[in-house]
Symmetry: C2
Subunit: 166 residues, 2 copies
């Protein structure tokens, strides 16, 4: 059962709930404050050829931290590059930030994806994603973890026939 | 205690774990498949003046769904615009995607933020974020929820003096 809490409803509720008067908590001893990771502080990572076909760069964004169990990275696939088939133990959201790419859920047709598209992949769904044959594709990937650091189970490479929707 | 699971370590572990041979799950009856939300399908929302100062547009990205408790939106602040002070019940990550802006944690100095910066705001930290006085700022906001739809507790507006770091 797909459970959606539309952001519009969340915002509408927040707006109608009025302005709360809560104490400032920043001064509490031992409390972790807000952190800023500056552009350029996190080195890019070359995608391993054990889990990707072709040239892939991962730009880390943020890790699970404090009470948050999600983590995010920006992944750039050069033309023709794609992930192996894989499954996420909690789920994944992809926000396509540039280019044109492809994705496929196991047993279903390959689909083209473009900048601005959002891909929601629930727990346990076997899928892959990557660039188109002639253009690059960059997406932000948001995953959540049950166990520390475990957000994906990697599987076999995507064949050329699968990549080409044959 | 700040808990970080560096993405680099996650990826390294994934790469060394080898390729798993897991069954395809897509065909299981009742299982929700992968969903694509196409660019243009989600209407922009005007930021309410009960929780923002100035002109703010929210472009919804994704809602909490299936096993995922995070949700995300892209928020564009026109020059001078900013959120009210607020607290997140689980936490928030901001990914600045364009422009130059400002943020502040209660009791600490106002800080400038620029495209490519990441702001990590833990549970319970009172903060605000917005554009600079002369340029717009857009960030993706990722929040997580404990109760359905509840990702923020709104508080009082940011005064001009606070906004200007005085």
């Amino acid at each position: 059962m797909l459970r959606f809490t539309p952001l519009a409803i969340t915002l509408a509720l927040a707006a109608t709930a009025g302005v709360l008067s809560l104490p400032a908590l920043a001064a509490e001893p031992g409390r972790v404050g807000q952190t800023i990771i500056r552009n350029g502080e996190q080195a890019a990572i070359k995608g391993s050829d054990t889990i990707f076909t072709g040239t892939v760069r991962i730009d880390p964004l943020y890790s699970a931290n404090n009470d948050m169990r999600s983590s995010g990275g920006s992944v750039t696939f050069e033309p023709g590059a794609r992930s192996n088939w894989h499954i996420h133990p909690v789920g994944q959201v992809l926000i396509v930030t540039s280019g044109v790419g492809r994705t496929q859920e196991w047993g279903k047709p390959m689909q083209e994806i473009k900048a601005g598209d959002i891909i929601i992949c629930p727990v346990g769904i076997k899928h892959w994603h990557g660039a188109s044959p002639t253009t690059s594709m960059t997406h932000i990937s948001i995953c959540e973890e049950k166990e520390p650091g475990k957000v994906v189970e990697w599987m076999e490479p995507v064949t050329d026939a699968q990549y080409n929707g044959q």
